[in-house]
């Protein structure tokens, strides 16, 4: 626990040492209102527990958010993604499965497609509070619930994460808008993954997802669960008060239980804020 806190303090300290230019404008005040987002997300996913292959998901992302207040500022966001997911080196795979023979010796054959089109689904609901530090920095906290479902290893793979993170934002006025950097690092998470044998086999539970929640949900902290998330973007402030932004997201996740899963995510999104 002590080592974990030391790591956290160092990371936050490094962020606060970033170059800052004093400004007369309170840059981090100009961020409230409704926001809508459309973008693209890519996820490189390697779950040793499910497959020896590296998967790549490419998804359309749609989302909405609302921010209000100043000290503290509160925000809530909802984001959904739908796309494809295939083994990176193999692409779409199709096999032929034969049914059992009938009395005439005939077998019915049917195609088995691994990860059909649009088999990647993901959603995230998040809420946070933040406080200004000077005119260009904010520190806060965020609670986030994330769910992912896709095909992997000729089976359905899913993952749920509820996490609590400290957050840091940096604002830099630039021309007609502002540059912004956001960073978060969960320090506590509840992670749900399929149990070791990928099959809960509970006699009194007919719903597999509920069984997974019972059997495969664990509490994890920073020494096991590493999930830094970074967002960089520029928002152009128009004269009518609306803001158009372009943002790049980068994230990394690593968790070892029951066997290592690692995800590298990146994305690009266009936002409109009123």
């Amino acid at each position: 626990m002590k080592i974990m806190l030391e790591k956290l303090i160092v990371i936050l300290g490094l962020m606060l040492l970033a170059h800052s230019v004093t400004s007369q404008e309170e840059a981090n005040a100009r961020d409230n209102g409704w926001g809508f987002e459309v973008g693209w997300r890519q996820l490189l996913l390697a779950d040793r527990h499910a497959s020896p292959l590296l998967y790549q998901a490419d998804a359309l992302s749609l989302g909405g958010s609302y921010r209000g207040g100043y000290a503290p500022r509160w925000d809530i966001s909802l984001n959904a993604q739908i796309g494809t997911n295939q083994a990176r080196n193999l692409g779409q795979r199709t096999g032929i499965l034969e049914g059992s023979p009938d009395i005439y010796g005939e077998k019915e054959s049917f195609d088995v497609k691994a990860n059909p089109f649009l088999s990647f689904l993901s959603g995230q609901l998040a809420g946070g509070l933040s406080w200004p530090i000077g005119t260009q920095h904010r520190l806060g906290t965020r609670l986030s619930l994330q769910y992912m479902q896709t095909g992997m290893g000729f089976d359905t793979w899913h993952y749920t994460q509820l996490d609590l993170s400290p957050t840091y934002s940096y604002y830099y006025p630039l021309g007609p808008g502002q540059f912004r950097l956001d960073f978060s690092l969960p320090i506590l998470a509840v992670v749900q993954r399929p149990n070791y044998a990928f099959d809960p086999s509970l006699p009194d539970e007919g719903n597999y997802y509920k069984a997974y929640l019972k059997e495969g949900t664990k509490l994890a902290s920073l020494d096991q669960f590493i999930n830094p998330q970074l967002q960089l973007g520029y928002t152009w402030h128009r004269s009518n008060g609306k803001r158009i932004g372009l943002h790049y997201q980068l994230s990394w996740m690593s968790y070892p239980d029951p066997r290592p899963v690692r995800m590298l995510g990146q994305g690009l999104s266009l936002t409109l804020t009123r």
Binding site: A18, H19, L44, A46, R48, S51, P52, L53, L54, A87, R88, N89, L90, R93, T94, G95, I96, L97, E98, G99, S100, P101, D102, I103, Y104, G105, V112, A114, G153, F154, D155, Y172, F179, N195, Y196, A197, F198, D199, S201, L202, P203, E205, G206, N207, L230, L232, L250, P258, P260, R262, L264, Q266
Partner: protein, 343 residues
């Protein structure tokens, strides 16, 4: 700030470069014959739940079969070695789907050894024994097969409790006046164990333990969960306690077999037909570095007294093996024996 952006960009490019992927993402096996063999063998070593129950020395099998491969082996040679190795497990839940090749899918156990289900055909039985067959929404075909004897064939066990409560409830309502019932679970395909538990619970007036299940929960040979106990207990407005015969054959597999285990605990039930397939454990799907899919049985399914029929099948109390030519001519000896026993 510019330097920060350059550093982040370089980091991302580095991550995405294939040479770094293996290390960054912890990928362990290469896509070559030995890498693919090792990936499958190791996954079985950690996940397959029947080595100790069947007395199989998986480590010795690795030495035997891996020595037949090299990095220059062809896909055909890899396929042949894997099929021969998996065939030693004698497991109807073990399969290999060599996607991207012309090799046939492989399934072990009874599916690998029997070319045809030569002793049963539901359509021929319906045509010759059922005058006015009815069907439930998705799983059951039923009718009186004699004046006072009901017949129901259960075609799949692939849904949940509520669905099967409704289906078997409908059937038992129809057979309220019957003096006996024949439940036919011959045919192929399994489903969910909870479906069988639900159906069987409509035939008992008290709670009965019929099965325990332990699944792998770690890589060690003895890493299993504490056994879960499976009970049947009275379900439905009324339970059918009159004589029941359950018909089985060599293709009665998986969830059909666990249903059979449940029914065997009941005093009013007799099993007739042929030995079942002997594949009880649940299975999961996996894949190899070359993209081939395969399935793995993940636990020990045992009877209430701790014994197991895995790999052998449940022998019927009354053995009757239909002949193919009889079935094709409309005669189902197992069904007729069941009628004889009930009349």
């Amino acid at each position: 700030m510019k330097n920060t952006i350059i550093i982040i960009t370089a980091f991302v490019v580095l991550f995405l470069h294939s040479a770094c992927q293996k290390q960054v993402f912890g990928l362990e096996h290469s896509n070559d014959p030995l890498g693919n063999f090792d990936a499958l063998w190791e996954e079985y070593n950690e996940l397959y739940g029947l080595f100790r129950l069947k007395g199989i020395d998986w480590v010795a099998m690795r030495a035997t079969y891996r020595s037949r491969l090299s990095d220059e082996s062809t896909e055909a040679e890899l396929y042949e070695v894997l099929v021969e190795m998996l065939d030693e497990l004698n497991d109807g839940h073990v399969g290999l789907i060599p996607v991207g090749t012309n090799f046939p899918s492989y399934f072990g156990g009874v599916f690998g050894s029997l070319d045809t289900m030569a002793d049963f055909d539901l359509d021929l039985l319906t045509e010759n024994y059922l005058s006015n067959p009815r069907e439930t929404d998705f799983a059951m075909r039923y009718d009186f097969v004699a004046d006072n004897i009901g017949y129901v064939h259960i075609d799949n066990f692939a849904d949940g409790e509520r669905a099967f409560d409704k289906e078997i409830g409908q059937v038992l309502d129809f057979f309220q006046s019957a003096d006996a019932l024949i439940i036919d679970i011959r045919g192929a395909g399994g489903g969910e164990d909870i479906a069988g538990k639900t159906i069987a619970s409509h035939f008992t007036e008290q709670e009965r333990l019929y099965m325990t299940t332990s699944i792998k929960n770690g890589p060690g040979a003895n890493d299993f969960t504490t056994p879960e106990q499976w009970f049947i207990s009275p379900r439905g407005d009324r339970q059918f306690l009159k004589p029941v015969i359950v018909l089985t054959n060599r293709f009665t597999i998986s969830a059909r077999e666990t249903f059979c285990l449940a029914m065997r605990t009941l005093p009013q039930v007799t099993t007739v037909g042929d030995t079942t397939a002997g594949a009880f454990s649940n299975q999961i799907n996996r894949e190899m570095p070359n993209g081939w899919g395969y399935s793995v049985s993940i636990g020990e399914w045992r009877t209430a007294d701790g014994s197991s029929f895995e790999g052998q099948g449940i022998p019927p109390q009354v053995l009757v093996r239909n002949k193919r030519e009889d079935v094709l001519n409309g005669k189902d000896e197992a069904l007729e024996k069941a009628l004889e026993l009930l009349q």
